[in-house]
C-alpha cells in the first residue's frame, strides 16, 4: 500500500462516519459514527508516520486515550438523555429551538 492509498481509505472511512453522524437518529449510532471518524484520523496519522517519516505515532496513542474518555462521557450523556426523555433519539432534545 502506498501513502495515497492509505489516505484514500482514511477519507472513505471518515466520509462514512460523517454520513452516519448526519443520517442516524440514535444517539448510540451517532457515537459510533464519531468513533469511525476518529479512527480515520488515526489511520491517516499512522500512514504519515510509516510512509513519510512524520513523528505522529505518539499522537495516535494520545488520540486513542482521549477517544476512550470521550466515549465514556458520551455514553453517560446518552444515559442522561434516556432518563430525561425516555428515549435515545437525539431529536427529542430540542430545547434550543429558536
Amino acid at each position: 500500500m502506498t501513502l495515497v492509498q492509505c489516505l484514500l481509505l482514511a477519507s472513505a472511512l471518515f466520509s462514512v462516519g460523517v454520513y452516519g453522524l448526519i443520517t442516524r437518529r440514535q444517539a448510540v449510532a451517532m457515537l459510533l459514527s464519531i468513533e469511525l471518524m476518529v479512527n480515520a484520523a488515526n489511520l491517516a496519522l499512522v500512514a504519515f508516520a510509516k510512509y513519510a517519516g512524520a513523528p505522529t505515532q505518539p499522537l495516535v496513542l494520545f488520540t486513542l486515550a482521549i477517544t476512550v474518555a470521550e466515549v465514556a462521557v458520551g455514553l453517560a450523556l446518552v444515559m442522561l438523555l434516556y432518563r430525561r426523555y425516555d428515549d435515545t433519539l437525539l431529536d427529542a432534545a430540542s430545547e434550543t429551538k429558536g
Binding site: V18, L21, I22, R25, L90, D91, A93, S94, E95, T96, K97, G98
Partner: protein, 598 residues
C-alpha cells in the same frame, strides 16, 4: 509663624480637615455638640491665622505659591495654590471673622435641633468656610471656579437644611437652579478665555471683543451669585434656611463672592467698557428695585434679603463705574453690618418664634442688647454719618458723581432714601410701639448669641475708618471729602429714617402705613415675573421633553424594534435539532476545505 503661605494654608486646610473629620467620624457628628466644638475650633484657628496674616502681609507684602494641577507637555494647563494680596488677605479675615461669629451664634440658636441635625449643620459650616477660603485665595480663575461651585453647593445644602419642610426643599432647589444657570456663564467664560489665551490668569491681556464676551459671561455668573436683577429671585426664597445661614451665606460672604470675583478680575473687566456699562445699569436698577420690594415685606428676614440684593446692587454699580475699590470697600462693611442685622433678627425670631413683623413690637424693653445691636446695624446700613455703611456707600456714590450720565447716581440716591426708610420701618415695628401678644414671653438671648452680636457691632460702627488702610493695601487711593454726594446722601438717609419714624413710630399711623403696604404692586411685579419665567422655563422644558421623547427616544426605540424584527426573521434557522447543526458544520468545513484548495 511669619510665613504668609503657611498662615494662609492653615486658614484653608484646618476647616476642610474639620469637615472631612466630621464626614468620616459619624459617631461624633451624630452626637451634635462635639461636632460644633470641632467646627468652631477649626474656625478659631482659621481666624487666628487670617488675622495674623493681615499683619504679616502688611509687613512683608504680597506672596504667591502655586503647584501644577493639570500637567501637560510643555506648560501646565492649570495650577492651584494661594494668592495673597491686599484683597484676598482682608477678605479672608472678614470671612473668617463673620463665619466664627455666625458659628458661635448658631451653637445657641440651633440648640433645639436633634443632635444629628446639629452635627450635620456644623459639618456643612466647616465645608463652607473651606470653600469660601479656597475661592478667596485662588491664584487663577480655575481654582476660583472650583471654590465658587463649592460655595454654591454648601448654599444648597444649608438652605435645604430643614429638608423635611417642602418649602425649604423647594427653595434649595430653586437657589441651586438659578445659580447653576448663571454659573454656565462662568464655565463658558473660562473656556473662551482658555481657548483665546491659553491661560486662566486674573490679569490676562485680551483682544477687545474677546474681553467683552468673556467678561459678559463672567458677569452672568455674578448676576446669579450676587442676586442681581433678573436672577435675584432665589435670594428671598433662600431665607428658608436657618437664620445664621442667611447671615453668613446669603448676606455677608457667599453672595458677595460675585462682587469679589469682579474685584479680582478687575484687569479683565478694565478691558471691557461695554460690560462695565451693563454692570452699572443692572447694579443701579437692582439697588432701587430691591429696595422697593424690601419696603413691603412682612417677613423680617425677607426685608433683609431684599436689602442684601439692593446693597449688592450698589457694589455692582461701583464696579461698573470702574472703581473696584469702592465696590470692595462696601462689600467689607456690608459683610459686618448685614451679618449683624441677620443675627440680631435671628435673636428676635428665636425669642418670638415668628418671622412676621406683625407678631413683633415693643421688644425694646425685653431685649435691650439685641435692640441696641440691631439699631447699630440698621443705622450703618442706612448710611448715617459716622457709621461704617456711610463711608463705603458714600464712596460708591462719589464714584458715580462725576459721570456724564447722572441717572445711576440719582437711582442710588433714591435707593439710599428707601434703605433708610425700610430699616426705620423694621426697627419701629420690631422694637418700638406696643408689646405684641407673641412678644410677651420674649427674653434676652443667651451670651452665646449676644456675644457675636456685640463683636459684630464694633466693625459695623468702626470699619469705615479702615478705608484708608484698606485702600493702601489694595494700592488704591482713598480720602474722605465734603462735597455734594456726602451731604445729599446723609440728608437722604436721615430723611428716610425720620419719614419712617413719623409713619411707624410710637403710634403706628394706620392710614399711611396701610397705603405703603398696599404698594404690593412691586411684589405683584415680582410674582408676575416669576410666573412668566416659569412659563418660559416650562415651555422650553416641554419642547426639550418632546424632542427627547420623540426624536432621541424614537431613534433608540427604532433601533431596538429593528433588532427584534430582524431576530424574529432569522430565528427559524435555529431548529434545536442536533443533526441540522451537524449538517451546517459539515457543509461549513467542506466549504472551508474547498477555499483552502482553491
Amino acid at each position: 509663624m511669619n510665613d504668609p503661605i503657611f498662615l494662609a494654608a492653615l486658614a484653608l486646610f484646618v476647616p476642610i480637615a474639620a469637615a472631612l473629620f466630621l464626614l468620616v467620624a459619624a459617631p461624633v457628628r451624630h452626637r451634635g455638640a462635639p461636632a460644633a466644638g470641632v467646627c468652631v475650633t477649626a474656625s478659631v484657628v482659621a481666624l487666628a491665622a487670617a488675622v495674623r496674616l493681615v499683619f504679616v502681609h502688611a509687613a512683608q507684602g504680597d506672596a504667591r505659591w502655586t503647584t501644577t494641577w493639570i500637567s501637560a507637555a510643555g506648560k501646565p494647563i492649570a495650577e492651584v495654590g494661594l494668592h495673597l494680596d491686599g484683597a484676598s488677605v482682608s477678605m479672608l479675615a472678614v470671612v473668617c471673622l463673620v463665619a466664627l461669629c455666625v458659628q458661635v451664634f448658631s451653637v445657641a440658636y440651633m440648640h433645639d435641633e436633634p443632635p444629628r441635625g446639629y452635627g450635620r449643620y456644623f459639618s456643612f459650616h466647616a465645608l463652607f468656610l473651606f470653600s469660601m477660603n479656597l475661592f478667596v485665595l485662588a491664584p487663577n480663575l480655575l481654582q476660583a471656579f472650583a471654590g465658587w461651585e463649592l460655595v454654591g453647593l454648601t448654599s444648597y445644602l444649608l438652605i435645604g437644611f430643614y429638608f423635611a419642610k417642602p418649602s425649604a426643599a423647594k427653595a434649595a432647589v430653586k437657589a441651586f437652579w438659578m445659580t447653576k444657570l448663571a454659573d454656565m456663564g462662568f464655565l463658558f467664560g473660562l473656556l473662551w478665555l482658555f481657548v483665546a489665551t491659553g491661560s486662566f490668569e486674573w490679569t490676562t491681556k485680551l483682544a477687545p471683543e474677546v474681553a467683552v464676551g468673556v467678561t459678559l459671561l463672567f458677569f452672568l455668573a455674578v448676576v446669579g451669585k450676587s442676586a442681581q436683577f433678573p436672577l435675584h429671585i432665589w435670594l428671598p426664597d433662600a431665607m428658608e434656611g436657618p437664620t445664621p445661614v442667611s447671615a453668613l451665606l446669603h448676606a455677608a460672604t457667599m453672595v458677595a463672592a460675585g462682587v469679589f470675583l469682579v474685584v479680582r478680575a478687575d484687569p479683565l473687566f478694565a478691558q471691557a467698557d461695554a460690560t462695565r456699562e451693563v454692570m452699572l445699569w443692572i447694579g443701579s436698577f437692582t439697588a432701587v428695585f430691591a429696595a422697593c420690594l424690601a419696603l413691603v415685606q412682612r417677613d423680617i428676614k425677607k426685608v433683609l434679603a431684599y436689602s442684601t440684593c439692593s446693597q449688592l446692587g450698589y457694589m455692582v454699580a461701583a464696579l461698573g463705574a470702574g472703581s473696584a475699590f469702592a465696590g470692595y470697600f462696601h462689600l467689607g462693611t456690608h459683610a459686618f453690618f448685614k451679618a449683624l442685622l441677620f443675627l440680631a433678627a435671628g435673636s428676635v425670631i428665636h425669642a418670638v418664634h415668628s418671622n412676621d413683623l406683625a407678631d413683633m413690637g415693643g421688644l425694646r424693653k425685653k431685649m435691650p442688647l439685641t435692640t441696641l445691636t440691631f439699631v447699630i446695624g440698621a443705622l450703618s446700613l442706612a448710611g448715617i454719618p459716622g457709621f461704617a455703611g456711610f463711608f463705603s456707600k458714600d464712596l460708591v456714590l462719589a464714584t458715580l458723581e462725576g459721570r456724564a450720565n447722572w441717572i445711576p447716581w440719582a437711582m442710588l440716591m433714591g435707593a439710599a432714601f428707601l434703605t433708610a426708610f425700610y430699616m426705620g420701618r423694621v426697627v419701629c415695628m420690631t422694637f418700638f410701639g406696643a408689646l405684641s401678644h407673641k412678644a410677651e414671653h420674649a427674653h434676652e438671648a443667651p451670651l452665646w448669641m449676644s456675644g457675636p452680636l456685640l463683636v459684630l457691632a464694633v466693625p459695623s460702627v468702626g470699619a469705615g475708618f479702615l478705608g484708608g488702610w484698606l485702600a493702601h493695601s489694595l494700592g488704591a487711593h482713598y480720602e474722605t471729602h465734603v462735597g455734594l454726594t456726602p451731604i445729599v446722601a446723609s440728608t437722604m438717609a436721615i430723611a428716610g429714617l425720620l419719614g419712617s419714624i413719623a409713619i411707624y413710630g410710637r403710634r403706628r399711623d394706620a392710614s399711611v402705613a396701610g397705603a405703603i403696604e398696599r404698594l404690593d404692586k412691586a411684589s405683584m411685579v415680582d410674582r408676575a415675573w416669576e410666573l412668566g419665567y416659569r412659563r418660559a422655563l416650562l415651555g422650553v422644558s416641554g419642547l426639550l421633553g418632546w424632542f427627547d421623547r420623540y426624536v432621541i427616544d424614537g431613534l433608540m426605540n427604532f433601533t431596538g424594534y429593528t433588532t427584534i424584527e430582524a431576530g424574529a426573521a432569522v430565528r427559524g434557522a435555529q431548529t434545536g435539532r442536533m443533526r441540522h447543526y451537524l449538517v451546517a458544520v459539515v457543509v461549513g468545513a467542506v466549504l472551508l476545505a474547498l477555499m483552502g484548495l482553491l
